[in-house]
């Protein structure tokens, strides 16, 4: 079985700060991590490899520094890693990204037929959740998003059964391989690799690919291939409402009543809403 897992290196959003003077995002010193949603997909792929054997190829598109993410994925147990990097890819939106990644997956498919592609449900920096479905559409693959559990994989009949979270509840779906799958957060926990995994991760040569390696139509990648236009980036205004501290020493009913009273006085709408 050959599984391709697409990952993205993102800035750790928990540690991003706004420059106090210029009001721009400070990326300097912000650690880069694997998009957290990708890890649920990677772990699921590794579990399938544990069960069925075969190969898990991690694929990322990004600057050369994204190598760190691939090494990390290898240390969890992935067997192969592809770094798709080229200045021509800079500025790619989700449409162009899914095109470039699909081109790489097609090339991987030539090496060894791909049974499944795993993607993160969404990224924490772009938050679009479009790249995975974009790949599925381009590859003409079955698309299984928001998967909470892989119930069964039958390699003979090439069928896969999954539990998919939807608005109303859980759908149990049976579909065909090859399929593109995005896993729901919390569906599993990333493993702690063995010492052998650590050695392998440090030593495995990366496959360094660029646009010439796999992309046929250059006009479909980078800024040129990206119809999305970011017109403005701004820092949202903080909700400038001051919190009021109510001292509740002793905690008497009178004090509670006074606090509620104050709430209604400050927010008259609250009283009418409650009454209505």
């Amino acid at each position: 079985m050959h599984i391709v897992v697409c990952i993205k290196q993102v800035p750790d959003s928990a540690q991003i700060r706004i420059h106090p003077v210029t009001n721009t995002i400070m990326r300097q010193g912000v650690p880069a991590i694997i998009n957290p949603y990708d890890l649920f997909s990677l772990e699921e792929a590794l579990r399938l490899k544990d069960r069925f054997g075969g190969r898990v190829t991690v694929l990322t598109m990004g600057p050369p520094m994204a190598e760190a993410s691939l090494r990390k994925a290898l240390s969890f147990g992935a067997t192969h890693a592809v770094l798709l990097t080229d200045r021509k890819f800079a500025g790619s939106d989700t449409l162009a990204t899914s095109y470039a990644l699909t081109s790489a997956i097609r090339k991987l498919h030539e090496e060894e037929p791909v049974d499944m592609v795993f993607c993160g449900k969404q990224t924490i920096d772009g938050d679009t959740a479009q790249v995975g479905p974009g790949i599925a559409t381009r590859m003409n693959m079955q698309q299984l998003t928001y998967v909470a559990k892989i119930e069964d994989v039958n390699l003979e009949s090439r069928e896969i059964t999954v539990h998919r979270r939807s608005e109303g509840g859980v759908q149990v779906l049976k579909s065909q391989l090859p399929a593109m799958i995005t896993m729901l957060e919390g569906s599993n926990t990333m493993r702690f690799g063995t010492m052998d995994d650590m050695f392998r991760a440090a030593r495995t040569p990366l496959m360094n690919w660029n646009k010439d390696t796999c992309v046929d139509d250059e006009s479909k990648v980078g800024l040129k291939g990206s119809p999305t236009v970011v017109s403005k980036v701004f820092v949202p205004k903080p909700r400038a409402q001051k919190a009021k501290m109510v001292t509740a020493e002793g905690g008497s009913p009178a004090l509670a009543a006074a606090a509620v009273d104050m709430l209604f006085t400050t927010y008259p709408k609250l009283a009418t809403d409650l009454a209505g």
């Binding site: 010193g29 650690p31 063995t194 010492m195 995994d197 050695f199 440090a202």
Partner: protein, 433 residues
């Protein structure tokens, strides 16, 4: 199959990186194991980096190392309640082509250093904790065990660069538990601030920097010091005191740091900044007498793990780097001679330490830690008295100078007594001789 290396280096701070780099550069098969996510992710220091020690390992480090500012001015301040008295030394010759000291941010600097280790050919594995040394029936160390499955790795020699707690050496009974009077706890903050404000407040330009070492009331009568360093676009401010004193006084480290930040002579220097990082760490302060056995059959300890820190001159990372280099050079030299890394041969490492500034300096100040520990007056009473004296002298109020001098003298005698003053002078001379 268990993998075997020429050497395993445990830890990726200044001493571990120096050892691994030197070994790999000489073509040895080296494994370096770091418990943090990357080299520097867990490492804390003020931080001043001394060029000389690094130059001897990576001569052209200035080309790409992440350095903040080179130090052109050193200030030593004794703080009173609302004042300081002190000395400044500033020299334009510190602006030479190869400056002597730099402020650094360790998480960036160590990461850079570790990248050099990898480039030199060492295998670096992070996020992996070495849990114990592997020893044969005769006690000779032949490898380490890590916290990962199949975690055993073998080597001819293990260099422990695992920091002040020296957990590995202690677990192997090579070292005893650190007594609280031999360890300081330091806390620090990095305040992000507009570089223009740094230039204006410290009268510096470009990459010039200022270092302020601080003693006095801010340590609450405990044995300790504080510091304020200028980085490119941030200031580092911190304070540390002996653990035994913290325990005795019941003062919290963050309270000290808050008091320091709010001191009237410090506050205007850091105003307008935003706290970017908060960190705390232990510092080995026991000096020469606390340096443990630092080699044995198949093992050596380097850096903080070997208690190599010069508290009197606030030097540590240079001792760490140099000891790491010495340990590596010892392994390389023995290998060339075809000698086994047993204790009798690894004694060469200790000799290198003895013959260099590392142990010479520590030996010079061997009495300092004990004397300071017994003499809190140097950290409380004297800064106070000196500030008071300066205040009286520089206040023009119609009182004649002779009377002022007598008043100052009386204040000293009253606080310390004639014998106390003489004793203190003697102690100081003995400690620094």
């Amino acid at each position: 199959m268990v993998e075997k290396f020429d050497a395993i280096v445990v830890g990726a701070g200044p001493s571990g990186n120096s050892a691994a780099y030197t070994l790999a550069k000489a073509g040895l098969k080296v494994l370096q194991i770091e418990r943090g996510e990357y080299s520097g992710s867990k490492n804390v220091q003020g931080a001043i980096m001394y060029a000389d020690a690094l130059e001897k390992i990576i001569p052209d480090f200035r080309e790409d190392a992440p350095l903040e500012r080179h130090v052109i001015e050193q200030r030593i301040w004794l703080l009173g309640d609302d004042s300081y008295i002190g000395t400044n030394y500033r020299s334009d010759s510190f602006n030479s082509e190869k400056p002597n000291r730099y402020t650094i941010i360790r998480s960036q600097f160590d990461r850079w250093f570790n990248e050099k280790v990898r480039e030199a050919g060492a295998l670096v594995i992070c996020e992996t904790t070495v849990t114990e040394l592997l020893r044969d029936a005769n006690g000779k160390v032949y490898g380490v065990r890590t916290d990962r499955v199949n975690g055993e790795v073998h080597a001819d020699v293990v260099i422990m660069a695992d920091g002040v707690n020296a957990l590995l050496a202690r677990r192997a009974d090579f070292q005893k538990e650190l007594p609280p009077e031999n360890v300081a706890l330091a806390v620090k903050e990095i305040h992000f601030i507009d570089p223009a404000l740094i230039e204006q407040r410290f009268q510096v330009k470009d990459d010039e920097g200022v270092v302020i070492e601080i003693m006095g009331k801010v340590t609450g009568g405990m044995v300790g010091t504080a510091f304020l360093y200028t980085n490119k676009e941030s200031l580092t401010i911190g304070i540390g005191c002996l653990i035994s004193d913290f325990k005795e006084k019941g003062i919290t480290p963050y309270k000290l740091l808050e008091d320091l930040k709010n001191h009237p002579v410090i506050k205007p220097l850091i105003e307008g900044g935003e706290v970017k990082e908060y960190a705390g760490h232990l510092i080995p302060e026991g000096g020469y007498k606390a340096v443990p056995q630092c080699y044995g059959d198949g093992w050596m300890v380097v850096g903080d793990a070997a208690h190599l820190n010069n508290a009197a001159h606030r030097e540590g990372s240079n001792l760490a780097m140099t000891s790491g280099r010495f340990a590596a050079e010892t392994v390389i030299e023995l290998k060339k001679l075809g000698k086994a890394p047993v204790a009798s041969n690894l004694a060469l490492y200790k000799k290198k330490l003895d013959d260099s500034f590392v142990l010479k300096d520590l030996k010079k100040y061997r009495n300092l830690p004990g004397i300071m520990h017994m003499s809190p007056q140097f950290f409380g009473a004297y800064p106070d008295l000196l500030n008071g004296a300066a205040h009286d002298l520089f206040t023009v109020d119609g009182v004649d100078k002779k009377t002022k001098e007598n008043k100052i003298l009386k204040s000293f005698v009253k606080r310390r007594s004639v014998f106390g003053l003489m004793g203190d002078a003697f102690k100081l001379a003995r400690a620094f001789r």
